[in-house]
């Protein structure tokens, strides 16, 4: 945000460009800038861009914080079940490795379910992560019924007192009705084993995704419910602003941020840090 001696329309144009190029999208950008204008009217800024910047980060923080704070993670069960969903290549399997590492550090007993039985070497990939983490992976091999894998994994997790069960699913495009139907079957299979399961459903979004992210969230929300978002690949140059429309319109909280390919590369969502990085 460059130096302006008064709040000119130029500054708002610049902020609009910053937000749109961060993938925040037109509607949310205009709404955020409208809120900013109201804040600016109430505060004597003397045209100081620093103050405008702080008001803007506050505004973004206010959009994202409530959903995250009003609903703490639902993880107090034995086991708490986390279902991982999202479109192809968004980073689901790698995120599961990171979440596992995160929970292991909290001394939780974690079990994984390899319910992507479709893609070439999907099972091998999560089994490899399981080995690196020292965590067991329930699997039934390529072509097995993913709902059966999820069901068996939950049964096993309950019988053996695991704290957390994380279920990996195949990448799927939300506009493919048959694939969304398969996801619904996985969801319902777990409910048969435990009516409260899954306790969390994380939609994993690729940080480089544009405006399609909102549609992804809507359809996954309708199919299996979505209780939280994870956005990946923010170690690149993408800002991940596409989560903002999801937060605004659907009230789904962002929970974690992926910042690399190693098991340690996961951060819990921090609204003000996210807002500042978005504008950087």
């Amino acid at each position: 945000i460059s130096s302006h001696s008064k709040i000119s329309e130029e500054l708002y144009d610049e902020l609009e460009e910053t937000l749109i190029t961060a993938d925040v999208g037109i509607d949310s950008t205009l709404a955020i800038l409208e809120t900013l204008r109201e804040k600016v009217r109430k505060v004597s800024t003397n045209g100081d861009p620093e103050i405008i910047y702080d008001l803007l980060t506050d505004t973004i923080d206010e959009v994202m914080r409530p959903a995250a704070e009003e609903k703490p993670l639902n993880l107090g069960h034995t086991p708490s079940v986390i279902l991982i969903v999202g479109v192809n290549g968004s980073g689901k399997t790698t995120t599961i490795a990171k979440l596992t590492y995160h929970f292991l550090k909290q001394n939780k007993k974690v079990l994984l379910a390899a319910a992507d039985t479709f893609r070439a070497a999907a099972t091998e990939q999560i089994v490899e992560w399981g080995d690196r983490l020292g965590v067991q992976v329930i699997q039934q091999g390529h072509g097995a019924d993913p709902a059966a894998v999820a069901f068996d994994a939950l049964q096993s997790a309950k019988a053996r007192g695991f704290d957390i069960l994380i279920v990996d699913t195949a990448g799927r495009l939300h506009n493919k009705a048959n694939l969304m139907h398969e996801l619904e079957k996985i969801y319902r299979a777990m409910k048969k084993q435990d009516p409260e399961a899954p306790h969390e459903v994380f939609l994993v979004l690729d940080g480089t995704t544009g405006q399609n992210a909102l549609q992804q969230a809507k359809i996954f929300q309708e199919t299996s419910g979505v209780t939280g978002l994870v956005i990946t690949k923010l170690d690149g140059t993408a800002k991940g602003g596409a989560v903002i429309p999801i937060c605004r319109e659907l009230g789904i909280p962002l929970r974690f941020i992926g910042i690399g390919e190693k098991m340690e590369d996961l951060e819990p969502f921090d609204p003000s840090a996210f807002a500042r990085a978005l504008l950087a």
């Binding site: 070439a120 405006q211 993408a238 800002k239 390919e261």
Partner: protein
């Protein structure tokens, strides 16, 4: 559809009068929104609107009784020009075995595309060899091996840990076994990761591929051009592949990457199966972006 959206827009602003210059400028705002919502890059949109507006303010449109139609035609034609003439072919004319490098960001669909391209080339009478040069991602080599097995296409995966060496040895293997094209699957990497980008430069220097294809996710947003530009700067790739176009993303990243790098779009990935590969049609892409 752009046409419906535009027609009703023009009916509303024209009322019973003739179309004014202000009407045209307002319509450009509408086009800007459509393109940004389609994930076309902010600066690309700005330049594009500038050119279209200039044409739209011409006399043909102002005097026309169907100005909406005229403006749509200008937009559509300008988009086609920007997207580039379709049907740009892979250059496989050299002495076999021809090395091809497949590169791009993490998760964009490179490994899947390698299998698709191998099948496509075999159907054209070639004898492809797949080379598994991603030594980082867990089970990446397994993934390519399984895809090769499904298609009955050989995969070079020697258990060597150096991607540059893997690619060099793949050419030797190709010569030995009569394979005339070698498709080199590389690990996904960030354009800002110097070391990993240098690895690609080293592979390129070692095997001198006449074709390097940049594989980009069709759902990419505003950031798509940054990565494409950096890959182009380091590798001067020859063409672009857009994947996951069987989704419902508008695919504006296609326009952005093409406009900013000037590289042709060679293929469209249209599904997860090995036969889900099409050659690029600019007119279809234009309709998708505007639709």
């Amino acid at each position: 559809q752009l046409t419906e959206r535009f027609e009703s827009f023009f009916k509303k602003i024209r009322g019973h009068g003739k179309l004014s210059e202000d009407n045209i400028r307002d319509s450009m705002r509408e086009v800007r929104r459509i393109l940004l919502e389609a994930d076309v890059n902010f600066k690309v949109v700005k330049d594009f609107i500038g050119r279209v507006q200039e044409k739209a303010l011409g006399q043909e449109v102002i005097k026309s009784i169907t100005p909406g139609q005229q403006v749509i035609k200008i937009i559509h034609d300008e988009l086609i020009v920007l997207l580039g003439e379709g049907q740009s072919r892979l250059d496989l004319s050299g002495l076999p075995p021809i090395p091809l490098m497949i590169v791009g960001l993490q998760g964009s669909g490179k490994t899947t595309f390698c299998a698709k391209l191998a099948l496509h080339l075999r159907r054209k009478g070639k004898f492809p060899l797949l080379a598994a040069a991603d030594v980082y991602r867990p089970a990446a080599i397994d993934q390519l091996k399984q895809l090769g097995k499904q298609l009955d296409i050989p995969v070079w995966a020697p258990g060597q840990a150096n991607p540059v060496q893997i690619c060099k040895d793949a050419l030797v293997e190709a010569r030995k076994t009569g394979r005339d094209v070698v498709l080199m699957d590389t690990a996904g990497r960030l354009h800002i990761d110097q070391e990993m980008m240098d690895e690609l430069v080293k592979i390129r220097e070692a095997v001198k591929p006449p074709e390097i294809l940049y594989v980009a996710d069709g759902m990419g947003g505003q950031d798509a051009v940054k990565a494409a530009l950096e890959f182009a700067a380091k590798l001067d790739f020859n063409g672009v592949v857009l994947t996951k176009m069987d989704g419902d993303s508008k695919g504006g990243a296609a326009l952005s990457i093409r406009a900013v790098t000037g590289k042709p779009i060679r293929f469209i990935g249209n599904g997860e199966k090995p036969d889900a590969l099409e050659e690029f049609h600019p007119d279809r892409m234009a309709s998708r972006i505007l639709g």
